[in-house]
Symmetry: C2
Subunit: 511 residues, 2 copies
């Protein structure tokens, strides 16, 4: 058995079921081994940034890591932005990056590069297999590292693939996230019992067990419960316990956290602004607020929350479902009506992938009264994540409707994801919020104190010339598409797309 | 004057005229300054990999570096593959990468990352501006470093843009590439006078002055003249002195170099295979061939060639133009007819950008008899370079027709380049060689000794399901397009596209 097959078999034995791939010559032995290891499903992408975001979306839903298959340093470069998003969100992910054969690497061939160098800024675990015999054991280590909550990148020289191996390696035990100390729990309890307090939830705490524990803590102490602006996966809707979104806009975030005596952070870090702005603080909590980190991202944050709830003795309150927003009767599409249509029609059990950027906060608000659903946020701020993450989420949670809310500017970074949706018949409804500009930049332009609104500056934020036709683009990659510009059009297109299996794209032209 | 304006003014004073941009919030002050520094033209791209390849194509033709404007680590990640290509080809390029404000950076915001880490594997020069006062002097250094022949990357924290500067910095002197020693010239002369010898040209030596010197050397010594498989810019056609392409296919490369007593390398490195193959050598020259490096990539290779020619005393021979290939009368499109149509109809003074992959060698052969033209190769092996490099070449050489020969698989990595072509009205004719597969991988699969041709393996090399419609895709981004599947169709579409200004795309469906 060659090294490549030993790697794939080790992946399979370690529980990895899917590999999002964009291979090249140095990965051909891995490709060849796919037929001998059918329990690992290969999903082809046309661009590596699709593979990495798909692996991110997949693992957030499937709760097991996917592998990616990437071609040398430039292949990882193409994947980098979405690996960064996974890195920041601590999504489990195993990147297999091919390299030249060991003896060939130092000779300066065109594709030779310092792969470890480019990989390291976005990987929690990095190794290069020195030969075929070590490839499988390192694969087992990589999967265990990823399952522990992070990005593991294994660089596989071509001859580590084609030389003879020792066969697959047994799965390695996954190190559970360490529990926090009793002292940390006591400190958080004392903080929340003295004065006005709040919890800030991040990482794995925004799913039902964590939210339930947080609700108990809130019931016992009166603490308000916030969640990170960009949390990997928020379980919300229906009668689920709720947490309040910490706003993206820094003035609103400062306002939300104003006057707290204590802020207890769980599964996250003390809150900071997405960007710095001249004259505004970077740290979002008041200088007078005492911040207590109950559990950082590397600790067992859900366990810590539950232990804290036990100490405080609160019970889970009944949560009455919110009323769904009403479907507007008519009108053009704007930041009120488009979110309302989505909120009114969002199917139960949906997976929402949100990269709608300037429309996001309105959609987040309008979908609060929908039935139970998962909401996936952009954890690392690198745009071009939404479409492929939606594709990956659909692979990771078959049978559930995926709704991808995507800004037109962001969509164009990884538009190739549509082809993978069509190829795999994935049940993703993509709504392109088409405002024909990098509207977030027009918004941020003044806020960072930039002055002058001349033609040259605004040309760099205007993507409406020429106009992008997302319906033609989607069809060119095999995805049925409709363009709509009013409420009835969007409602009818959304209903139809949800009702019919497979991918659909709706270009929602904003007024 | 803030730091951002001082940076742009320094670029302008140092001779930089174009900035290919994909900005974000941290670059807003640079964007704002564009109106105050109109001599730097901003060209918007929808994806950073378009910006970096465009800067590469631009500088190869304009002979001055372009700047790129990129958004933090993930923005550079998206640009990485095509920065790598520039790095390997030593194209002058100045990357301006925004970062968080200095005090904000260590706080762990979503977009914070180790930018220097990801930049370094593809940059000859890397610096981070510590503040606004140092931004302009570092910009001048970056331009000088790029003009010296390489990729310079300057990281600009947001507050280095918005804080007050000391104004623009004066241009820094460019260090000329050092001349080679007389000893090196004598050694090369001795080598070529003793036994069967050949020259291998790379880097800047494949333009007319270098080719002329090489022709003199060949006339004096009988040496054969090769050029690198992937040289940045080959001036060829008409009555220009010719060099023989060192083949990509390793068996052919080994055959071409077989039996040489001496190989003199100029502006390049001793030849190695693009990939390693089991049982085949990585080094392409015979073990018995003595390799003499007359000038490495960092030395004055053209000057060295001319000095060698003077020592050897050869004169430039008359070069009779080759006969143009005939336009085939009819037939389906295949690896004979498609190249013949291009060779027969290639306009004089064209700039050919070749990322046709499996079709490349046939097109390279079929265009040898065309009139004078420049031929740009993929220097770093990272695909997704062709379309945006063609856009950049058109910006860098206005008035010249650009012909982009692009494989369907490779096209999809940076398809967003079409939009920039339409937006800027660039005179680029793109021919998509549509064989509906990663044909190079099907070709390489057996060659690396991979076995098994099962469905799962081949699925990862088949991009024909669903079929990509490049005409719809091009039109969706504002580029007129036609699909053709036979010789008359391609000939007529090619003639029309060349005759009409602005971008055109021809999807050439291979039989």
């Amino acid at each position: 058995m060659n090294g490549a097959e030993s790697v794939l078999r080790t992946l399979a034995q370690s529980g990895v079921e899917v590999c999002f791939a964009n291979p090249g010559t140095s990965e051909m032995h891995l490709v060849a081994a796919m037929d001998r290891v059918p329990s690992v499903r290969g999903v082809l992408t046309l661009f590596e940034g699709v593979a990495s975001a798909a692996a991110d979306g997949y693992a957030r839903m499937a709760e097991i890591p996917a592998a990616t298959m990437l071609h040398l340093g430039p292949g990882f470069g193409n994947a980098f932005a979405n690996v960064h998003n996974a890195y920041k969100g601590r999504t489990p992910m195993v990147n297999l990056v091919g390299d030249h054969a060991v003896a060939h690497k130092p000779l300066g061939a065109p594709l030779a590069s310092d792969i470890e160098g480019i990989v390291r800024p976005a990987s929690h675990w990095v190794r290069t297999a020195p030969d075929a015999r070590s490839a499988a054991p390192l694969t087992a280590e990589a999967v265990a590292a990823a399952r522990g909550g992070g990005v593991a990148t294994l660089i596989l020289p071509a001859d580590a693939g084609w030389d003879e191996s020792l066969g697959p390696a047994a799965p390695r035990p996954v190190e559970a996230r360490p529990p926090v100390t009793e002292g940390a729990i006591d400190a958080a309890a004392r903080a929340l019992k003295s004065g006005r307090g709040a919890l800030l939830l991040g990482g794995p705490t925004t799913r039902e067990p964590g939210l339930r524990a947080a609700a108990r803590i809130a019931a016992a102490t009166g603490a308000e419960v916030f969640h990170d602006t960009f949390t990997p996966r928020l379980e919300r809707g229906g009668s689920r316990p709720r947490a309040r979104l910490l706003p993206y806009i820094i003035e609103l975030a400062l306002e939300a956290l104003r006057g707290l005596d204590h802020l207890v952070v769980v599964g996250s870090q003390p809150p900071v602004g997405f960007f710095a702005y001249p004259g505004l603080p970077s740290r979002l909590a008041d200088p007078g607020t005492q911040i207590t980190v109950l559990a950082g991202p590397e600790e067992d944050s859900v366990g810590a929350l539950e232990a804290l709830a036990d100490v405080l003795g609160g019970t889970v309150p009944e949560v009455a479902p919110l009323e769904r927003v009403a479907l507007p009767a008519s009108g053009a599409l704007d930041l009120q009506t488009l979110p309302a249509v989505i909120g009114a029609l969002l199917p139960d059990d949906a997976i929402v992938v949100d990269e709608a950027i300037t429309a996001s906060v309105f959609i987040q608000e309008a979908t609060r009264g929908a039935g139970e659903h998962d909401y996936l946020y952009l954890t690392g701020g690198a745009i071009g994540w939404g479409l492929p993450a939606a594709a990956g989420a659909a692979v990771g949670a078959p049978g559930r409707p995926v709704v991808c809310l995507e800004a037109d500017g962001s969509a164009m970074y990884t538009i190739q994801a549509l082809w993978t949706m069509a190829r795999e018949g994935l049940d993703v409804t993509t709504i392109i919020v088409a405002n024909r500009s990098y509207a977030i930049l027009e918004f941020e332009f003044q806020r960072v104190g930039a002055s002058g609104d001349g033609a040259a500056a605004h040309a760099l934020m205007d993507i409406g010339r020429p106009e992008l036709d997302f319906t033609a683009m989607a069809r060119s990659m095999g995805v049925p598409a409709r363009r709509v510009d009013d409420v009835p059009g969007l409602a009818s297109a959304f209903r139809e797309a949800i009702a019919e299996p497979g991918p659909h794209l709706i270009e929602a032209v904003m007024a």
